[in-house]
């Protein structure tokens, strides 16, 4: 329900929302389509030069929601304004991908690359096509070649680590995550993912590394519950292993006990003031006990 007399403050609110979603890379496509469609249909004249980037943002969101009509109209506007732009060509390619016309999309991207071999966006789209078609080993190979030339592309490293994890090639996934950790040493999520991969790989050395990186993730962000659980699991696992020395066993049991106490504390704080608190705290204790690794 839109009235033609929507106030200016409302319009600027919508613009700010779109900008926030754009800058922080949110993928809430349905909301973007809702807000963006209204903005573009009713108040296009008041948007000024912002309108082109909003067209791009709404078009990608529309492709996500299968709204080809909206995507097509956005694309037409952009084509009219920027007839020779590679950026717009890439959007056209994305639309072809959404329609599963992968051959045509590939041809389009190849033509961009012929014109400008350094265009990273087109290369990445080609790799996404391979991934969409399920050809993961080829996607991995292409992505490796891409990364040889564009070593600094963090998005690509993350994508590659995901591909490797899907293929259960944990050693290589760990390598990719190391790259990410190196370039973003303060990002607790990369530390935690790396620790999880190491934990999955198993083996005493990897468990120790996993424990260390879970601890680092916690140090960077005290509220990372997953890292806290990971710390508990890896410490208990090491402590339960028959091959460790007594000192290592003692240390790890200390870490594990500390982690367990922190987990209980967190759940107590969460349930503060609620009636179910006692039950949930007991449930946590039981859960921790059941997670105890017993010697096999």
């Amino acid at each position: 329900i839109t009235s033609t007399n929507v106030s200016l403050s409302c319009i600027s609110e919508m613009r700010d929302k779109l900008r926030k979603w754009r800058e922080e890379n949110y993928r809430n496509s349905e909301q973007i389509v809702d807000v963006g469609e209204e903005l573009l249909n009713e108040h296009a004249s008041k948007l000024g030069d912002d309108i082109w980037i909003i067209y791009e943002q709404v078009m990608i969101a529309a492709l996500d929601c299968s709204r080809d009509d909206l995507a097509w109209s956005c694309l037409q506007e952009l084509k009219r304004q920027f007839p020779d732009s590679h950026r717009v060509k890439r959007l056209a390619g994305m639309r072809l991908e959404a329609l599963e016309r992968y051959e045509d999309a590939n041809k389009l991207y190849d033509s961009i690359l012929q014109d400008d071999p350094t265009n990273t966006a087109a290369r990445k789209r080609k790799i996404s096509i391979l991934r969409a078609q399920g050809k993961s080993s080829e996607a991995i190979r292409e992505l490796n070649e891409y990364l040889e030339q564009f070593v600094g592309d963090q998005e690509a490293w993350h994508e590659l680590s995901e591909l490797y994890i899907n293929e259960h090639d944990y050693a290589k996934a760990a390598f990719c995550l190391e790259e990410l950790m190196m370039t973003n040493p303060h990002n607790h999520l990369y530390c935690e993912q790396y620790a999880e991969v190491k934990y999955t790989q198993g083996g005493l050395e990897n468990l120790e590394l996993a424990r260390k990186y879970f601890a680092q993730a916690l140090k960077l962000n005290n509220r990372n519950m997953r890292a806290l659980f990971g710390l508990y699991m890896s410490a208990s696992h090491i402590a339960a292993s028959p091959k460790v020395s007594a000192k290592v066993k003692k240390d790890n049991m200390k870490y594990g006990a500390w982690a367990a106490s922190q987990i209980s504390r967190a759940y107590q704080m969460a349930g503060r003031g609620k009636k179910e608190n006692k039950c949930s705290v007991k449930a946590v204790e039981e859960m921790l006990e059941s997670m105890q690794i017993t010697m096999s």
Binding site: M182, T183, R265
Partner: protein
């Protein structure tokens, strides 16, 4: 305050000071658009992009390598610096030294730069000097030595006049540099009317990007990487962590935010 204060005719303000400001400003805006028209896209070489990224990667390894496990760091250092197969040792780029006199593309760039920037400045400076000569335009707010007199007071032959009083030509040059921030406000960053930046880039000249000599850059990066030692930052992380309780502030909220709003 040395000497009596001069009282200038207010018509000077109306007919000299303000017009010079406007002329400088509009000429600057004109220069910006002309630069955009005759500017040609710089073709980026894939090799250059790749090389600069590799150098950045190596630098990050040096700075943040301490967050990686020892073995990973050693593996990467080895990749770069290994005497036989290391990247910095093995890869030698063919460098064609770009001689500014013979390289045609750089020559045309230089000429265009000169045309759009220096030429208007000279022309208009000269015209102002001719049109607005013989009187004092304004006073700079700080005292100047007598050395500045012949430079700033062209056309005014008064020995006893304070050097702070300047002619219109100097007011013009003051404007050229002073209106820089105005250009940024109106034309956005990176505009073609920004003369001081152009002059700066002309002075630093061929120091742009990696084109001069990637080999030298590789060599210096190799040396820097050789001397770096791996001191693991995570050595005592658990001990540091368990000595105090975790801070859960902000983890729990009364209403859980479900949607992105």
């Amino acid at each position: 305050m040395a000497g009596p204060e001069l009282l200038l005719d207010s018509s000077i303000r109306l007919w000299v000071v303000l017009p010079i400001v406007f002329i400088t400003f509009f000429v600057g805006v004109l220069r910006h658009y002309v630069t955009q028209l005759i500017h040609n896209e710089k073709k980026v070489d894939l090799q250059q992009v790749s090389d600069s990224q590799v150098l950045l990667h190596s630098r990050i390894l040096r700075e943040n390598g301490k967050y990686l496990p020892k073995q990973s760091f050693a593996m990467r250092k080895h990749y770069f610096n290994n005497p036989e197969t290391g990247f910095f040792k093995k890869v030698k780029r063919k460098v064609i030294p770009k001689n500014p006199m013979t390289d045609t593309s750089m020559l045309t760039d230089m000429m265009k730069g000169n045309l759009t920037n220096v030429l208007p400045m000279i022309l208009i400076g000269g015209w102002i000097n001719w049109a607005f000569s013989g009187f004092v335009t304004t006073k700079v707010p700080f005292p100047l030595t007598l050395r500045f007199k012949p430079m700033l007071q062209r056309g005014i032959e008064l020995i006893s006049l304070d050097a702070s009083w300047v002619s219109s030509a100097s007011w013009y040059f003051l404007n050229v540099f002073g209106l820089r921030s105005m250009y940024t406000l109106i034309l956005g960053q990176d505009n073609g009317a920004d003369q001081s930046r152009i002059m700066q880039s002309q002075m630093t000249g061929a120091a742009m990007a990696m084109s001069p000599d990637p080999n030298k850059a590789f060599k210096s990066e190799w040396e820097a990487l050789e001397i770096v030692e791996h001191k693991w930052a995570l050595e005592n992380v658990e001990e540091e962590l368990v000595c105090q309780d975790l801070n859960f502030r902000g983890l729990f909220k009364a209403e859980v935010q479900v949607s992105v709003d």
